[in-house]
């Protein structure tokens, strides 16, 4: 078992939401060890490029395997790793820019396939690592380092998008609620299909939304975040759509499709009747 690299010295800014997400991920993976005896080496963390993606280097203690690939390409890489070795636990960690801007094209295909991986998205509504430019989830009119006069694009409703793409399991969380988040990540990993845990993970440096999200309950000022009521039927896609259209940031499991075949099983099923041949047999069929 490889331990954390003591020499690695990249740091998130103080208060960055990603710290909480890291703790939650560590806890979820640790719980797999206790619950199912799955060793940590069975987990592969596929990271996007961004402050968020640096998480793959910052996990404490015993280390999972990791890939810190290219900006926007965590899903295709995860697809490759998972389908080459379906027994692995593959987790994507990426930012809103990585996942929803340059990497946008990769979400729908995985949803259509029901690729059996979990993506943990850290949404801070900015590009943190490149110093605070607007991202797809920044709101219309938002002033950022790249939109000094306001962003001319509407903000993307990521949760709604996931539902339309047909993502099987969609959860929404906040980085500061570590225990809840750890539970959601754990459940998402357990779920046999494509799951996304979309986390509000504020960027204290360029877009500090902690206050906005939490509000000031004592002073009666409501925050943007609100808990999805227990009564919500997570199997009900209409109800789920209702939740994500209500505005604000719903917290909890938004949707969990009745488990359908994950990709590895689909392929097995499709190919069940195909003839399996050795390379020699294939070669022989070209004999003149």
């Amino acid at each position: 078992m490889t331990d954390k690299n003591p020499e690695y010295d990249f740091k998130w800014c103080p208060g960055c939401g990603d710290f909480g997400v890291r703790r939650a991920l560590e806890q979820a993976v640790a719980r797999r060890l206790t619950d199912t005896e799955e060793p940590i080496e069975n987990t592969v963390v596929v990271a996007g490029i961004g402050c968020s993606g640096n998480m793959v280097h910052l996990l404490e203690g015993p280390q999972p395997f990791g890939i810190h690939g290219l900006h926007g390409r965590s899903l295709p890489i995860a697809f490759g790793t998972k389908m080459a070795r379906p027994e692995l636990n593959v987790v994507v960690v990426a930012g809103d820019g990585d996942f929803l801007s340059i990497g946008m094209e990769h979400i729908a295909p995985q949803a259509q396939r029901n690729l059996n991986v979990t993506a943990v998205i850290m949404d801070n509504a900015v590009y943190g690592l490149t110093k605070g430019q607007s991202s797809p989830t920044s709101e219309l009119g938002m002033v950022t380092s790249s939109t000094p006069y306001g962003k001319p694009e509407e903000g993307l409703n990521a949760l709604k998008l996931y539902l339309t793409y047909g993502v099987s399991h969609v959860a929404s969380a906040m980085s500061s609620k570590i225990k809840d988040l750890a539970g959601m990540v754990y459940d998402a990993m357990e779920y046999p299909g494509f799951s996304i845990v979309h986390v509000q993970s504020p960027c204290t440096e360029f877009n500090d939304t902690y206050q906005e999200l939490k509000g000031k309950p004592r002073e009666g000022i409501p925050g943007l975040a609100w808990d999805i009521p227990d009564s919500h039927d997570t199997r009900d896609i209409r109800a789920a759509n209702g939740i994500v259209e209500q505005g604000g940031v719903p917290l909890g499991v938004v949707y969990q499709a009745e488990p359908k075949l994950p990709l590895e099983k689909r392929v097995e099923k499709m190919n069940a009747n195909a003839r399996v041949r050795t390379p020699q047999e294939m070669l022989n069929s070209y004999t003149s």
Binding site: M1, T2, D3, N5, E7, Y8, F10, P39, I40, E41, N42, T43, V44, V46, I49, N54, V56, H57, Q63, P64, F65, G66, I67, H68, G69, L70, R73, P76, I77, A78, F79, G80, T81, K82, M83, A84, R85, E87, L88, E105, H106, P109, V267, N271, A274, R275, V276, R277, P279, Q280, M282, L283, Y286, T287, S288
Partner: protein
């Protein structure tokens, strides 16, 4: 004297189905013990458009498609006009006399193929009449085609009882027309039937089979001509345990997917062509940087950008060697024939596993459309290399994949030695670092590994001559034929070199080349890409280029080589 080879071209409109006739004609001859090569060219559309298909049959291995035609089978007037000048002086033009009227040029033979075909009772026997007619013109024993037909349609349940007799009837009708016409092209010498088994297949099939033998586990691809048929072959044939094949949503997904699979310990591959290859640029850089074994096959087509999707060219070499920003030099293996497609694919996997990184396998449109006989490989004799997997750290946490300047074992998920495969510059565990020493060390590690690949084999011949011819890829065949002719005529002294291992070059080969006064590189691109690369390595190389979308013609190439040498002789260099 009997003839040693025949060249037949079928030309018409795409979708007229003559591809089947041509293909069958070639297959029949191979079955009889001849060597054969086919060639196809067509526009980038599904139905129609000017299309031609060529077959060359020979008593010795076929090196090129053949410059001059013994027979042109013309399916429309445009085809006749376009191709008639390629017919040799003794050649014949054959056409369907009910479909077409051609000027009476004294060498054209009209036969009502369609009508005669239908008269056999089989609606689709016209092709048989064509074949019979060709056989007649070439005085080919009737048995060759009959044997082929009997074998091809042997499955009575599938084809019905009448198919074989009807088809044979068609062959006979065609032959009779030829005999009746009085045209005769001489007789093909009997085949020297080889004492080994033969396969008859095209380049993409050979690549697919090579990958299968090498132990491919994971294939992801996106359709693109002329690589699509590899994807389709895989989808069709490569099912079973530890074989995952998938059509993904783009080439960017493909390259990243095979990187994920390669990382996880599996042998993985994608095949693409120009535009898709360019889209893989960033991913190839990642595989180089993180040292992930993958094989990327680029079946080259013509031109930059969308270019000429259905024409052939050898113009992706620069991109293959240096596909991405930063210091990157990817291993490149380029197949030079259908047979080499098979071996090059295996070599590509072996290299990828050995040096733990991405390998580019270059093929060409010409091979996709080319069916050729090759000696059936004895799989038990073709070595397959497997990755050196890191298996144990005895409970310690001390193995760090990138620690050393030299290559070590490769940890895979689920096992010990966890690390991060990192696109950023990294330390021993793969964590990001910006330390100058580390960037120096890792850069040298990445380039140093290429030394493991310098033992590729190569052909050399008549090595004393100071001027050499050294083609690459698909220009090998025409260049060899031209070289053979030059040597055979005693015109001049030329040495011959050839390798499919373009980067790194076999080290001994490179040494030899550096001693030459001039290395002439026939290649199908404008810039003379391979000769440029040789020049950067201290070889006095110069290209003979062609960029028409078509392969070299042997005669033209021979003349250009001779011209070049004369210039050199005039300038006082050694010949």
């Amino acid at each position: 004297m009997k003839k040693t080879d025949f060249v037949i071209r079928f030309a018409g409109e795409g979708g007229q189905g003559f591809q089947t006739a041509a293909q069958g004609f070639a297959a029949a001859n191979v079955q009889a013990g001849y060597h054969a090569q086919t060639f196809a060219t067509f526009p980038s559309q599904i139905t129609g458009g000017p299309t031609w298909f060529q077959v060359r049959v020979s008593t010795t291995p076929v090196l090129s498609r053949g410059d001059k035609l013994d027979v042109l089978v013309a399916f429309n007037e445009y085809a006749y006009e376009t191709h008639k000048d390629d017919v040799s002086d003794e050649g014949v033009v054959v056409y369907d006399s009910k479909m077409l009227e051609l000027p009476d040029d004294g060498r054209s033979l009209g036969v009502p193929f369609e009508q005669l075909g239908k008269s056999t009772g089989n609606q689709r026997a016209a092709n048989m009449v064509v074949m019979g007619c060709l056989a007649g013109l070439m005085s080919m024993p009737q048995s060759i085609l009959e044997d082929f037909v009997s074998k091809r349609y042997a499955n009575v349940q599938r084809y019905g009882e009448k198919t074989i007799p009807q088809n044979i009837h068609g062959l006979t009708l065609g032959r009779e027309e030829a005999v009746k016409s009085g045209f005769a092209l001489g007789e093909l010498a009997p085949p020297e039937k080889p004492d080994y088994e033969q396969l008859f297949l095209n380049g993409n099939e050979a690549i697919s089979l090579g990958a299968a033998h090498a132990g491919l586990n994971f294939y992801a691809g996106y359709p693109i001509s002329p690589a699509t048929t590899i994807l389709m072959w895989m989808q069709q044939h490569y099912v079973g345990e530890d074989r995952f094949v998938y059509q993904v949503s783009s080439e960017i997904e493909a390259i990243n997917a095979i990187i994920g699979a390669g990382y996880s310990g599996k042998k993985s591959m994608t095949a693409t062509a120009g535009p898709g290859f360019s889209l893989m640029s960033e991913g190839l850089g990642l595989a180089w940087m993180a040292e992930i074994p993958i094989v990327v096959c680029d079946v080259q087509r013509g031109g930059p950008a969308t270019g000429l999707p259905t024409k052939t060219e050898q113009s992706d070499l620069y991109q293959a060697m240096h596909p991405a920003h930063g210091d990157v030099s990817l291993p490149v293996i380029a197949a030079g024939s259908v047979e080499e497609c098979f071996y090059a694919a295996i070599a590509a996997f072996n290299w990828a596993e050995r040096y733990q990184g991405p390998v580019i396998l270059l093929s060409e449109h010409a091979f996709e459309g080319r069916n050729q006989n090759i000696r059936k490989p004895d799989l038990s004799k073709i070595p397959v290399e497997n990755r050196n997997i890191y298996v144990s750290n005895n409970g310690s946490d001390s193995y760090h994949r990138y620690e050393s300047r030299e290559l070590g074992p490769f940890p895979v998920p689920g096992g010990p030695g966890s690390y991060v495969a990192n696109a950023s510059e990294h330390d021993g565990m793969g964590d990001t670092t910006h330390l100058p020493e580390r960037h120096v060390q890792m850069t040298e590690r990445r380039f140093g590994k290429l030394k493991l690949l310098e033992d590729g084999d190569y052909e050399s011949d008549n090595t004393e001559a100071g001027i050499a011819v050294m083609p690459w890829g698909g220009s090998k065949g025409p260049a060899r034929e031209a070289w053979n002719e030059i040597q055979g005529n005693g015109d001049t002294e030329l040495s011959w070199y050839y390798t499919m291992f373009l980067n790194p070059l076999p080290s001994r080969l490179l040494e030899e080349l550096r001693t030459k006064d001039l290395v002439i590189v026939p290649e199908l691109n404008y810039q003379g890409q391979f000769s440029s690369i040789l020049r950067t390595q201290g070889v006095n190389a110069e290209s003979l280029t062609q960029y028409t979308g078509l392969p070299f013609k042997v005669g033209e190439l021979r003349q250009r080589i001779l011209n070049r040498i004369q210039v050199d002789a005039k300038e006082g260099a050694l010949v």
